[in-house]
């Protein structure tokens, strides 16, 4: 009944975002089930290590920035990336809250807005880096720029909408476009990231590489 009430109160912008959410969910399910359908490759070699601890390691200590050159050699970019991703998670949480009519108020509204503004600026920095850095530019295709632009806009609009409720229509349209694009472009790494870490854990686990053995001599 509560859900029915929620839907009955929705304006056309919310409807657009809601339909986009449903399409996004369906798209993500398509990727997920296709992944499952392809199945794990059969490996007939005799393992010398264990898979489960290695998978756990892949998602935990192997992600330690002290262990990854991609992190410790690029600390400003790494930190910007982390803030940007936290901002994205927060933006989606905010969308759910707004959709359920539990928009934050008081100091929390300003805190979330401030964080989203910071994460949006980090996203902008990453986008600028992609444009001006020769190596990064050579790796990039329009999807890379568009994906960053959509997510960064999502953060910006979320931050401003919390302060100025007149922006809600813009907010829902922004969210809707992002959700429609998510399963199509590189943003689908939302799903494949987890699969890639799992696959790495399986690979290194079987071969006794992860988790690393302790030196004892």
């Amino acid at each position: 009944m509560a859900v029915f009430e929620l839907f009955s109160k929705m304006n056309p912008y919310m409807w657009f975002a809601t339909e986009a959410l449903a399409i996004c969910f369906a798209g993500c399910c398509y990727h997920f089930f296709k992944l499952l359908d392809y199945g794990k490759p059969k490996d007939l070699s005799k393992p010398i290590g264990q898979i489960n601890p290695a998978v756990k390691y892949a998602f935990t200590r192997a992600m330690d920035p002290r262990k990854k050159e991609s992190a410790f050699l690029h600390l400003p970019t790494y930190i910007a990336g982390i803030i940007y991703h936290l901002g994205t998670f927060l933006s989606f949480a905010l969308f759910v809250m707004i959709w359920l009519n539990f928009a934050p108020s008081g100091w929390l509204r300003y805190a979330i807005s401030s964080f989203l503004l910071v994460s949006a600026l980090n996203g902008t920095g990453i986008l600028i880096k992609r444009i001006i850095n020769k190596n990064l530019r050579s790796l990039s295709n329009p999807d890379d720029y568009l994906s960053n632009f959509l997510v960064t806009t999502f953060h910006f609009v979320g931050a401003f909408t919390l302060i100025n409720s007149r922006l809600f229509p813009v907010y829902f349209v922004t969210v809707g476009i992002l959700l429609l694009y998510l399963p199509v472009g590189k943003l689908k790494h939302t799903i494949y990231f987890f699969a890639a870490r799992y696959q790495l854990g399986v690979f290194y686990g079987r071969r006794g590489v992860w988790p690393p053995k302790k030196e004892e001599f």
């Binding site: 199945g39 070699s45 970019t77 190596n135």
Partner: protein, 443 residues
């Protein structure tokens, strides 16, 4: 390059179509082009060219995948950077997958997502192999192995002659007339394999292992029919050819009834036979497979051989072969061995599973068209070695030995390059009494 036929394109795309599984699908869809993998690649570090960034190599195969296997790539290829598999793309694939990647896998654990970049490069090589674009030198090495039974084309007579004089040397060295190098003896504990470079260029490493086996009182044999631990078809990713080579060794182990196959000090050979081999021949092994490094570490742990670390006075460092350490999990054993056999051991930095590739992997030593690149990327390893101040560089891989030997000359390092077996043999202490005959082992 001649015009590419539709049939060739179809064969290349088969790898991404019929060969698709969850692992390939995952890694083809995971790269976000962050470019943070650049500094983990020796080619990028040596040349600072964006085409050498691992993500660029990933994108080369992923862009082809997107073009033919995704809706977006088919409808709006420009948006997602989807590429046709045409003459230009194939040219770039050949240059980057064969000529600018040793498949060392160092970029993989450093990737911010976890894309198995070297796996995708192998898949790219597989596409090229199916289309017939394996560099000539590499394919010649494979053909030699397929036609003669070993990648150096050594005849059985030459091989047995070499072993015969090595056996004489062994008897002299251990002062035991019954010492021998057993050939084609059935039902031994161990069938020992070799890198064919050993009988051809480095017979002392065979002597070293023979001396160790003699001292340990091991029940072992060599085969004169199939002793080649290498499998260059692993490098070309031609699975049918890799399967033929694997099957031969498998059959010989079965034929001789050996309980364990001990793989010579050969990084790619150990990977190709131990880890990829069962999948090439689609059969689990009914015997054990270990590397000689693990065997030597076991001998020392079990006290089957005694060593005196005072015998080697020079400072020693260790180069970890990528296929043995990073993707084979064998990095602790060689350190244990060196901790027992040498007094002054110093590590390189980075080391172990994070070690830099020497530049000789991925079949680079067999592809003369990329020699200049190979030597240039080796400068990083040369610098690593120089910083240790070591006089001896130990490495459990004959490909690495070859590359390091060339780096030693080019960059005037003034070091000796040795295998682990040679270090153990140099530091070994003669047992009080051990008697070995051709067919019997008594301790």
């Amino acid at each position: 390059m001649e015009k590419i036929s539709k049939e060739k394109i179809r064969k290349g795309l088969e790898v991404l179509d019929e060969g698709m599984d969850g692992k390939l699908f995952t890694h083809l869809n995971s790269c976000v082009h962050c470019g943070l993998c650049a500094e983990s690649c020796i080619y990028f570090l040596a040349f600072h060219e964006s085409k050498f960034i691992p993500a660029a190599k990933v994108d080369l195969i992923s862009s082809v995948y997107r073009k033919y296997m995704t809706l977006t790539g088919k409808i709006i290829p420009g948006l997602v950077g989807a590429r046709k598999l045409d003459k230009k793309t194939i040219g770039e694939m050949t240059d980057l997958f064969f000529g600018a990647c040793t498949m060392c896998g160092r970029c993989v654990p450093h990737c911010s997502i976890g894309v198995d970049i070297s796996y995708l490069v192998r898949k790219g090589r597989e596409m090229l192999a199916k289309m017939g674009y394996v560099p000539e030198g590499l394919q010649n090495t494979i053909n030699t192995a397929l036609n003669s039974g070993n990648n150096m084309g050594i005849t059985e007579k030459d091989f047995t002659d070499t072993l015969s004089w090595l056996e004489d040397d062994l008897r002299f060295e251990v002062n035991d007339d019954t010492a021998c190098i057993p050939l084609n003896v059935k039902d031994r504990n161990i069938l020992y394999t070799l890198n064919p470079r050993e009988p051809k260029f480095f017979p002392l490493s065979i002597s070293a292992m023979a001396k160790i086996f003699h001292t340990a009182g091991e029940s072992w044999t060599l085969s004169t029919r199939m002793y080649d631990a290498t499998n260059y078809a692993y490098y070309s990713s031609n699975h049918p050819e890799a399967g033929i080579i694997t099957q031969r060794l498998f059959d010989e182990i079965q034929n001789l009834g050996a309980k364990t196959c001990v793989l010579a000090e050969c990084g790619h050979g150990s990977r190709a036979f131990r880890w990829e081999g069962p999948n090439y021949i689609k059969q689990e092994y009914p015997f054990e497979v270990i590397t000689s490094v693990e065997l030597l570490a076991n001998y020392l742990r079990e006290g089957k051989i005694k060593v005196d670390r005072e015998k080697i006075g020079d400072c020693v460092t260790l180069h970890d072969p990528c296929n043995l350490a990073r993707t084979g999990g064998v990095w602790k054993e060689q350190r244990y061995i060196l901790s027992r056999c040498v007094n002054n051991f110093v590590e390189m930095s980075p080391k172990g599973t994070d070690n830099l590739c020497c530049g000789g992997g991925g079949g680079q030593l067999a592809m003369s068209e990329y020699n200049e690149r190979r030597i240039k990327i080796g400068a990083l390893k040369a610098e690593q070695i120089r910083k240790t101040g070591a006089k001896i560089v130990v490495t459990p891989c004959h490909n690495c030995v070859d590359q390091l030997t060339q780096l030693n000359i080019t960059y005037k390092l003034g070091v000796q390059i040795k295998t682990v077996a040679e270090i153990v043999a140099d530091s070994i202490v003669a047992p009080e009494q051990k008697v070995i005959s051709k067919n019997e082992v008594e301790v």
